[in-house]
C-alpha cells in the first residue's frame, strides 16, 4: 500500500508542475522515463493511467520496446474512461502480435465493449479487435463484424466495413464466403458513409465478384456524389470495372474509334495526315480496317493510342501475342466487346454520376472521374475532362506531378484534346525538374501548326534556362516537334543551327559539361530531323560539315562525321566536298577522341564503298593512311576496327589494279566486299518508329507513375466477361429485402432487356460481316466464357472450338482429331493415375495393359462416333397431305452463322409424286400473328428467349424452283423458336399452294457445344449446386444389343465398358448438340461391373450462352439394363429441367435410332 501511495504522491507533485505546461505533452516525449511507469498503470486515477500510457507511447515512438508492460496495460482495457481506452488500444495494436497470449486476455473486454451503448466505444472496440492480427481471434472478429454490420449506428457499420479487409488479410480461406457475404450486406447499406468503406473493402476482398455490384448498381451510382471523397475514388473504380465487365467498351468512345472503321468523323478539326500502312510493324492487316481518325495526326500517334487502350484492358503480354494473328479475328473480337453508349443505360448512368465529380475539390476524385470519361465517354464529350484536369494542376506540386504523368498519356493518345490549352503547360520557374520535363514532353506532343510558333518562342527562353539539363531536354523537344510537324522542320533546323553557333560562342564560359550536353542534343535533334527527309535538308548537312572544325565535343563531332558517311552521295555538293573533308578528317585523326575515331573509320569506308571514278583513288589513299594511323592507336578498339576493315577490304585496298575489277561487273563482287557493303552500307533505312514506352496503366493508378505493374494492379476486366444473367438470377432470388431495394432492382431489371438486345444486335452485326463463322464462334465463345470459367480463356484455337464432337459431317476430320485427342489424353491420364493409385502391386501388370487398351480403343471409338452420329429425322409433311411432297427435317448441330440464337434445321424435300413440282419454299407464317400472340405471352414469362422478340422468326430459305420426281433436295433453314417446347408454325408453298406445317423443336438443339476441360467442368459444376441442379434416372438398354452383337464377332480387344460408354455417348450426341468433356472409367476389379462409369457433357444455351452441364452416371452390370442417373446443372432452371426430361426420354427410349 505504502509504495503505491508514495508513487501517487510523487506524481501529484509532478502534476502540479505540469499545470504550467498545460496542453502539451512535450515533456512526456522528451523524457518519458523520468518516473516509474508501472505503478502509474496500476493507479486508481484515470489521469495517471493516461499519463503512463502516454509515456509508453512516447517510448514506442522513439523506438524502444516496451512490450514488457503488456499485461498491465491490457488490464486497463476495462477502464471506463475513453481516453484511457483509446491509449490502451493504441498500445495493444502495436504489441498484440508479439504477445498473442496476453492479447487474448483482452478479447473479453472487447466483447463487452461491443455491447456498449455508446457507438463510439463499439466502433473503436471493433476497429482495434480487427486490427489485432491474430488468427486465433479471427473467427470471433468475424462474428463481431457480422453483428456490427447490422448495427443501428452508421459509425459502427462503417467500422465493420473497415474491419473486413483486415480480416481478409489474415488469409482465412474458410471464411472467405462469409466475409464476402458481409461485404454484400454493407454494399446494400443506405448510408453513404458506410458505402465508402464498403467499397474499399469490396475492392480489396473480392474485386471481381461483380454480382454484388450488379444488384446495387443503379443505387450505388445515384449515391456516389454523397459518398465521402475517399470512398468516391474507390467506388468510381468499382463501378467502372463493373460496366466494362458487363457491357464492354463503349462504341462511341475514344477507345473504340482506335480500333474500328469509322472514317467519317469530321467534327474534329486537326491536321489529318493519312496513315500509311507501315510494313515494318506487322499491323498491316489491322491497318486495313483501321479508322483513319482525323484526330490522329501520324502513324505513331494512333498506334500509341491503340496501344494505350490495349494495355488498359489486357496488359502488355496479351497485346503483343495477339499481333501474331494476321487474320481478321482480332478486330472482330473488338466489335463484339463493345456496346453502344447511347442505348446502354448503365453506361449512361455511370457517366452522368461521375461528371459532376469533375468539379470535386479532391484532385484524386477528379482524376478518377476523368479516367472513367476518358475510356467510356463518347468522343465528343471527352473534352469535358480537360479543364478539370488543368485546374488540378494548380494544386500542390506533388499532385501536379502525378496529374501531369496522367495527362501525358492522354495528350499523346489524343493530342487534339489538350492542343488548345498548350499555354497551361508552359513552364514556371518554380516547377521542379520532373515537372518541367513532363511539361516539355506534353508540349511536344500537343503542338499543332497554329500553336507551334508560340511554343517555339517559349522554347527559346527555356534554352537559356540556368538548368542545363532542362535546356538539353528542350532541344530534344524541338527535335520531336519538328518530326511531328514536318512543316516546321526548316524553322526548327534554322533555330538549332543558330544554337550550335551560339553555344559554341558561349561554350567556354559557365558549366562546360552542360553546354556539351546541349550541343550533343542539338546535333542529335538535327540528325533526327534530317533523317526524315534527307534530300531537302542537304544544305544543313553541308553547313554542319563546313563547320565541323568548330565543334569540339567528341560526341557531336562523331555524329556529324556519321552524317558525312551516311549522306555522302546525296545531292551534288556533298560528293564534291568529300575529298577535302576526308583529308581533313585524316589529318585530325590522331587528335580525335575514341568515338570520333571509330566513326571516322566507318564513314571513310562508307564513302569509299559508294564512290566511283577518280575519287575512289584518293579515298583509298586516305583510308589506307588512316588505317595505318589507327593500327598504331593506343586504344585497342580502334586497332581492332582498323584491322577488321583492312581484312574485309583487303582486296580493294591492296593493289591499284583491282580498281577495274571492282568497277567491272557487279556480279563479280567479291564476297568480302559484299559483306562490307552490308555492314557499312545500310544507309537510308526508312525511319523506324521510335521505340515507344510500352507501359501504360490505368489513369490514376500508382503503376502509371512508377511505370511498372505494382503488386495488386489489375487491368480492366475483360470487356463483357460478365455473364449477362449471372446476377439477374440472384437478383430474383434475393429480391425479398426492403421495399426500396426491391423497387431498385425492379427498375434495374426493366432496363435490362433493352441493353441485352442492343448488345446482341451487335453480335449479330459482327457476324454478318464475318465470312468465317468458325472464327467468330470461337471468338465470342472465348469472350463469353471468361466470365464463367476463369481459366478457360485459352481456347481461342479454332480447331478445338468447333469440335462439337463431330456430329457435323462436314467437320468430321478436324473434329474427330481434336475430339479424340482430348478424350484419349483425358482417359490415359485420369484412368492411369487413378488406376495406379488405387491398386498398387497386384494388378500392376494387367492394369497398365488395360489402360493402354483403353486409351487406344477410346480413340477409335470416338472417331467412330463422329461418323456414326446421325440426326434423327422428323416428318414435317406427309406425302399424303402434301400432294406427294414429302418433307423431312432434322436438327443440325452447326452453330448458326447468322445469329447465335437461331437453330439450324436441315430440311429434305422429296418428290414422291410422278410430276415435277416447282416453286417450293418454306416460310414463316406471317398471317398467323394471332396465334403468335399466345406464344408471346409465354415468351414474356420465359426470360430465356425474351430478348429476341424483334429478330426474324426464320431466315428464309432459298427457293427450290423445281423438284423432279424422286429427287431429294436438302435445304438448311435457321429458325428461331419462341419456346423450347412449342412448335413453330410455318407455311410451305408448293406449286403456288400454301400448306401449313408445324416444326417441332427439339430442346437438345437449343444448346451448342461448349468446349471445356474437365477442370473447368468440375469448377463450374461446383458453382451450380442446389437449386440449379436436377437429377433424374432411367434405364438404359441400348448397349445390351450392342454387346450381344459383339459377342458373336469375338472382339476381344473391345472392352465391355467401352462399348457402353460409346453407346451412351452416341445416343447423347445423336439427340443433343453437346460437347463430350470426359469419360471416367470405373475403377473396379470386376470388369463386368459398369458402376461408376461417368460421362460429362457440356453445352451452352444458344440464346444467352448460359452454360449447361450434363453428367451421366451409370450403375449396374454390363450385360444387364443399366440404371443411369442424369444430372443437369444449369442456371436457367426451367430450361435445365426441360432438357433433363428430354435426355431421360431419349435415353430410356429403346434403340432403333442407332445403326
Amino acid at each position: 500500500m505504502f509504495p503505491q501511495f508514495g508513487a501517487t504522491a510523487e506524481t501529484l507533485s509532478k502534476a502540479s508542475t505540469m499545470v504550467f505546461r498545460i496542453g502539451t505533452d512535450a515533456h512526456l516525449y522528451d523524457d518519458p522515463e523520468d518516473v516509474n511507469i508501472a505503478p502509474l498503470l496500476d493507479s486508481k486515477f484515470d489521469s495517471e493511467k493516461c499519463e503512463a500510457l502516454k509515456r509508453l507511447l512516447a517510448l514506442i515512438a522513439q523506438g524502444f520496446d516496451v512490450s514488457n508492460f503488456f499485461p498491465q496495460v491490457v488490464k486497463n482495457v476495462a477502464s471506463q474512461s475513453l481516453d484511457v481506452k483509446k491509449l490502451v488500444y493504441l498500445y495493444l495494436l502495436h504489441y498484440a502480435e508479439k504477445r498473442p497470449n496476453e492479447a487474448l486476455l483482452s478479447i473479453n473486454y472487447f466483447q463487452k465493449d461491443l455491447g456498449d451503448p455508446n457507438s463510439l466505444v463499439r466502433g473503436w472496440a471493433l476497429r482495434t479487435m480487427a486490427g489485432i492480427r491474430l488468427h486465433v481471434i479471427a473467427p470471433l472478429v468475424l462474428v463481431a463484424v457480422g453483428k456490427c454490420a447490422r448495427d443501428p449506428s452508421v459509425y459502427v457499420r462503417k467500422s465493420a466495413a473497415n474491419a473486413l479487409p483486415k480480416l481478409y488479410d489474415l488469409r482465412l480461406e474458410e471464411h472467405t464466403s462469409a466475409i464476402e457475404e458481409i461485404v454484400g450486406i454493407l454494399l446494400n447499406d443506405h448510408s453513404p458513409g458506410v458505402l465508402g468503406a464498403a467499397a474499399a473493402s469490396f475492392a480489396s476482398i473480392c474485386p471481381n465478384n461483380f454480382s454484388l455490384i450488379g444488384r446495387n448498381y443503379q443505387r450505388l451510382c445515384e449515391i456516389l456524389p454523397d459518398v465521402e471523397e475517399w470512398g468516391q475514388i474507390v467506388l468510381i473504380g468499382i463501378l467502372f470495372r463493373f460496366v466494362i465487365a458487363r457491357h464492354g467498351l463503349v462504341k462511341e468512345s475514344l477507345m473504340f474509334s482506335l480500333h474500328c472503321t469509322e472514317s467519317s468523323n469530321s467534327e474534329n478539326d486537326g491536321s489529318a495526315t493519312k496513315i500509311s500502312v507501315n510494313e515494318d510493324t506487322g499491323y498491316v492487316s489491322e491497318d486495313n480496317d483501321f479508322g483513319l481518325d482525323a484526330e490522329m495526326s501520324g502513324n505513331n500517334v494512333s498506334e500509341f493510342a491503340k496501344m494505350v487502350c490495349r494495355c488498359y484492358i489486357e496488359g502488355l503480354d496479351e497485346y503483343l501475342s495477339r499481333l501474331s494473328y494476321t487474320n481478321r479475328g482480332p478486330s472482330e473480337l473488338n466489335v463484339s466487346q463493345f456496346t453502344s453508349g447511347k442505348s446502354n443505360n448503365d453506361v449512361k448512368i455511370l457517366l452522368q454520376c461521375t461528371s459532376p465529380l469533375l468539379w470535386s475539390n479532391n484532385s484524386a476524385v477528379v482524376l478518377a472521374a476523368a479516367g472513367v470519361h476518358w475510356i467510356m465517354a463518347p468522343r465528343e464529350d471527352v473534352k469535358r475532362i480537360v479543364k478539370p484536369l488543368l485546374f488540378v494542376l494548380r494544386s500542390s506540386s506533388s499532385s501536379k506531378y502525378v496529374v501531369l504523368c496522367n495527362i501525358q498519356v492522354f495528350a499523346k493518345a489524343m493530342p487534339s484534346l489538350f492542343a488548345p490549352h498548350f499555354e497551361d503547360f508552359f513552364i514556371c520557374s518554380s516547377d521542379s525538374y520532373q515537372i518541367k520535363a513532363l511539361k516539355l514532353e506534353i508540349l511536344s506532343s500537343i503542338a499543332t501548326d497554329s500553336s507551334i510558333s508560340f511554343i517555339f518562342k517559349e522554347f527559346q527562353d527555356y534554352i537559356r534556362d540556368p538548368d542545363r539539363r532542362f535546356a538539353a531536354d528542350t532541344v530534344a523537344a524541338i527535335g520531336l516537334c519538328a518530326q511531328r510537324l514536318p512543316k516546321m522542320a526548316n524553322t526548327c533546323l534554322e533555330g538549332l543551327l543558330a544554337l550550335t553557333r551560339q553555344e559554341f560562342v558561349s561554350g567556354d564560359s559557365g558549366s562546360v559539361e552542360g553546354e556539351a550536353d546541349i550541343l550533343i542534343q542539338v546535333i542529335m535533334s538535327i540528325k533526327s530531323i534530317i533523317k526524315q527527309d534527307p534530300s531537302s535538308h542537304e544544305k544543313v548537312i553541308i553547313q554542319l560539315i563546313r563547320r565541323l572544325d568548330s565543334f569540339k565535343v567528341p560526341a557531336a563531332r562523331a555524329m556529324i562525321i556519321w552524317m558525312v558517311g551516311e549522306y555522302s552521295s546525296l545531292g551534288d555538293t556533298i560528293p564534291r566536298m568529300l575529298t577535302t573533308v576526308l583529308k581533313y578528317l585524316a589529318s585530325h585523326f590522331p587528335s580525335e577522341a575514341l568515338e570520333t575515331k571509330l566513326q571516322t573509320l566507318n564513314s571513310i569506308v562508307k564513302v569509299l564503298l559508294c564512290a566511283e571514278g577518280e575519287d575512289l583513288w584518293s579515298f583509298k589513299r586516305v583510308l589506307s593512311y588512316v588505317l595505318e594511323l589507327a593500327e598504331c592507336d593506343l586504344n585497342y578498339d580502334v586497332r581492332d576496327r582498323a584491322r577488321f576493315i583492312k581484312k574485309i577490304l583487303s582486296c580493294s585496298l591492296g593493289s591499284q589494279g583491282l580498281e577495274e575489277e571492282i568497277n567491272h561487273l557487279p556480279q563479280n563482287k567479291e564476297p568480302s566486299r559484299v559483306i562490307a557493303e552490308h555492314i557499312f552500307g545500310g544507309q537510308m533505312k526508312p525511319v523506324s518508329p521510335e521505340p515507344m514506352n510500352l507501359r501504360f496503366y490505368l489513369p490514376g493508378s500508382l503503376s502509371q507513375i512508377v511505370l511498372h505493374a505494382a503488386p495488386g494492379y489489375e487491368p480492366l476486366p475483360k470487356p463483357r466477361s460478365l455473364l449477362l444473367d449471372d446476377f439477374d438470377l440472384s437478383n430474383v432470388d434475393k429480391g425479398s429485402n426492403t421495399l426500396e431495394r426491391a423497387r431498385n432492382s425492379e427498375s434495374y431489371d426493366t432496363d435490362d432487356p433493352e441493353s441485352v438486345s442492343g448488345s446482341l444486335d451487335q453480335e449479330t452485326a459482327s457476324d454478318y460481316s464475318s465470312e468465317h463463322s468458325i472464327t467468330h464462334s470461337s471468338v465470342s465463345g472465348g469472350s463469353d466464357e471468361t466470365g464463367s470459367v476463369n481459366e478457360g480463356d485459352d481456347n481461342d484455337d479454332p480447331l478445338i472450338q468447333i469440335s462439337d464432337v463431330g456430329n457435323a459431317c462436314e467437320n468430321e476430320k478436324g473434329v474427330s482429331q481434336s475430339g479424340s485427342a482430348d478424350l484419349g489424353e483425358l482417359i490415359s491420364k485420369r484412368g492411369l493415375e487413378s488406376w495406379l493409385n488405387d491398386q498398387p502391386g497386384l494388378y500392376n501388370m494387367s492394369t497398365s495393359e488395360q489402360s493402354q487398351v483403353c486409351g487406344s480403343t477410346a480413340r477409335i471409338s470416338i472417331r467412330d462416333i463422329g461418323h456414326r452420329v446421325k440426326m434423327k429425322s422428323y416428318t414435317l409433311l406427309d406425302p399424303a397431305n402434301g400432294n406427294g411432297l414429302k418433307v423431312d427435317y432434322s436438327f443440325s448441330s452447326e452453330v448458326s452463322t447468322v445469329a447465335l440464337h437461331l437453330v439450324g434445321v436441315e430440311v429434305f424435300f422429296k418428290n414422291c409424286s410422278l410430276e415435277p413440282m416447282s416453286d417450293i419454299i418454306l416460310e414463316d407464317e406471317d398471317s398467323s400473328k394471332g396465334s403468335n400472340s399466345a406464344d408471346q405471352t409465354l415468351v414474356a414469362t420465359d426470360s430465356f428467349l425474351a430478348s429476341h422478340n424483334d429478330a426474324p422468326i426464320m431466315v428464309s430459305m432459298e427457293e427450290i424452283t423445281s423438284l423432279e420426281p424422286g429427287q431429294i433436295i436438302k435445304r438448311i433453314i435457321q429458325a428461331r423458336f419462341h419456346h423450347h417446347l412449342l412448335p413453330l408454325k410455318l407455311a410451305l408453298f408448293c406449286n403456288g399452294k400454301k400448306l401449313p406445317v408445324k416444326l417441332r423443336p427439339d430442346i437438345g438443339y437449343f444448346v451448342r457445344p461448349l468446349t471445356m476441360d474437365i477442370q473447368a467442368f468440375t469448377d463450374k459444376e461446383s458453382r451450380l449446386r442446389g437449386m440449379f441442379e436436377y437429377v433424374r434416372s432411367c434405364t438404359f438398354t441400348d448397349h445390351v444389343e450392342e454387346l450381344n452383337k459383339g459377342k458373336g464377332e469375338n472382339l476381344a480387344t473391345k472392352d465391355n465398358i467401352l462399348v457402353i460408354c460409346e453407346c451412351l455417348a452416341l445416343k447423347m450426341l445423336c439427340n443433343a448438340n453437346l460437347f463430350l468433356v470426359s469419360v471416367d472409367m470405373p475403377v473396379a476389379a470386376n470388369l463386368d461391373d459398369a458402376s461408376g462409369l461417368r460421362l460429362r457433357f457440356s453445352s451452352e444455351i444458344l440464346s444467352n450462352s448460359i452454360p449447361c452441364l450434363i453428367t451421366i452416371t451409370v450403375e449396374g452390370k454390363c450385360h444387364d439394363p443399366l440404371e443411369v442417373s442424369i444430372k443437369v446443372n444449369c442456371e436457367e432452371t426451367v430450361f435445365g429441367l426441360n432438357l433433363l426430361n428430354r435426355v431421360v426420354n431419349f435415353l430410356a427410349e429403346s434403340s432403333g435410332v442407332l445403326a
Partner: protein, 333 residues
C-alpha cells in the same frame, strides 16, 4: 485498384522517424528510415524530387512541410493521387490542431497525433480528414472532463461536414471573394498567359441544418431561364466546389445549393482564363559595369485605377546565378 498505404511516417528533416503508424504490418519503420535517408543523400535538393519513389518493392510517397516530411509507404498498387492528397489533407488537419506543423509541434502533441493517425486512416484507407469534424471527438485539451463522448453526428450523418444541433443567437453569413491573378510573362515582356484563380470564402454562423443557395450571374443559368444577360454573365465551367455543394443538382439545373459547414470554408474555387492586365508592371534592366559591379534598374508601374491604393508591395530580388559566380570569382582573387 485495391491498394492501400501500409504505413504512415512523420519524419524530421534528416529523415529520422518522429512518429509512425503501422496500418498493415508489411513495412517497418527501420526499412523506411533507411530508404529515406539514403534517398535524401542521393538527391541534393529535396524540393525538386520526384514525390513518388519506388524502392525494393515498396513505393514511397512523400511531401515536405516546413521541417517535417510526411510519407506513406505501400506495397500495393494504390491511387497515387489520393494518397498524396491525403498527405496534404493531413497537413491541414495538423495545422488545424496545432496551428503550425513542424517537428516541435508534433513532439509536443504526439499523443494527439497518434489518435489522429488512428482516425484519419484505417488499414491504409483514408477516412475523415476534416479537421473540424475530427476535433469534435479527438480533443487536444488534456484536462477535459467530458461525461459523454459520442461520435459527432457529422460522422454518422449523410452530411459529414456539419454537426447537428448548432445554435446561434445571431445568424450570420459572410462571403468573401478572394482572387489571385497568375500571369506568365516571357522574356520579351509579352504576356503569354493570364488567368484568375478565385475562391468564394464563406464564414457561416447559422442555426440548425440550413439549406443555402447561391445565385451567380452564370451565363448558362440565365440563358436557361430565358433572361438575356443584362449585365455581365460569366461562364461557369472551370470550377471546383466544396464537398457540401450538391454536385448532381448543379449538373441538372445549375443551382448551387448546399448545407454549409459551420465556420469558415471555401465554397468554391474557380479559374478564369481572361486577359488580365497585371496590376503592377515591373521592368528590370541589368547593366554590367565591371567585373564587380552590376546595376539593376527596377521600374515598377502601377496599372490600376487611380482611386485605388495598393499596400504592401513586396519586391523579391533573386540573386542571379551569374552574379553569384562572378562574385565568387572576385573573392577568389
Amino acid at each position: 485498384m485495391a491498394g492501400a498505404a501500409s504505413a504512415l511516417f512523420l519524419l524530421d528533416i534528416k529523415g529520422h522517424v518522429l512518429i509512425w503508424r503501422d496500418y498493415r504490418g508489411d513495412v517497418t519503420a527501420a526499412q523506411a528510415e533507411r530508404f529515406f535517408i539514403k534517398h535524401l543523400e542521393k538527391e541534393g535538393d529535396p524540393q525538386s524530387q520526384d514525390p513518388v519513389v519506388y524502392d525494393n518493392g515498396i513505393t514511397y510517397m512523400f511531401i515536405q512541410h516546413n521541417n517535417v516530411y510526411l510519407m506513406t509507404a505501400s506495397r500495393q498498387n494504390c491511387n497515387a493521387t489520393s494518397l498524396l492528397l491525403f498527405l496534404h489533407r493531413l497537413v491541414d488537419v495538423f495545422k488545424h490542431y496545432f496551428e503550425v506543423l513542424e517537428e516541435e509541434s508534433l513532439r509536443d502533441n504526439f499523443v494527439v497525433v497518434y489518435e489522429l493517425l488512428d482516425e484519419v486512416m484505417d488499414f491504409g484507407f483514408p477516412q475523415y480528414t476534416e479537421g473540424k469534424i475530427l476535433s469534435e471527438f479527438i480533443k487536444t485539451d488534456a484536462y477535459r472532463m467530458e461525461v459523454t463522448q459520442r461520435p459527432p453526428m457529422a460522422v454518422t450523418n449523410a452530411v459529414s461536414w456539419r454537426s447537428e444541433g448548432i445554435r446561434y443567437k445571431k445568424n450570420e453569413v459572410f462571403l468573401d471573394v478572394v482572387e489571385s491573378v497568375n500571369i506568365l510573362v516571357n522574356s520579351n515582356g509579352q504576356i503569354i498567359r493570364s488567368d484568375v484563380v478565385g475562391a468564394l470564402k464563406m464564414r457561416t454562423y447559422l442555426t440548425g441544418m440550413p439549406e443555402c443557395k447561391l445565385g451567380l450571374n452564370d451565363r448558362i443559368l440565365l440563358e436557361a431561364q430565358g433572361r438575356a444577360a443584362k449585365g455581365k454573365a460569366i461562364d461557369l465551367d472551370d470550377i471546383k466546389f466544396h464537398q457540401c455543394v450538391r454536385l448532381a443538382r448543379f449538373e441538372n439545373d445549375r443551382t448551387i445549393s448546399f448545407i454549409p459547414p459551420d465556420g469558415a470554408f471555401d465554397l468554391m474555387t474557380y479559374r478564369l482564363s481572361t486577359q488580365v492586365k497585371p496590376l503592377i508592371w515591373v521592368e528590370a534592366q541589368v547593366e554590367k559595369h565591371s567585373r564587380s559591379r552590376i546595376e539593376i534598374m527596377v521600374k515598377a508601374r502601377s496599372q490600376f485605377k487611380e482611386r485605388r491604393v495598393v499596400y504592401s508591395v513586396l519586391f523579391v530580388s533573386n540573386p542571379l546565378q551569374k552574379v553569384d559566380s562572378e562574385v565568387g570569382s572576385l573573392f577568389a582573387l
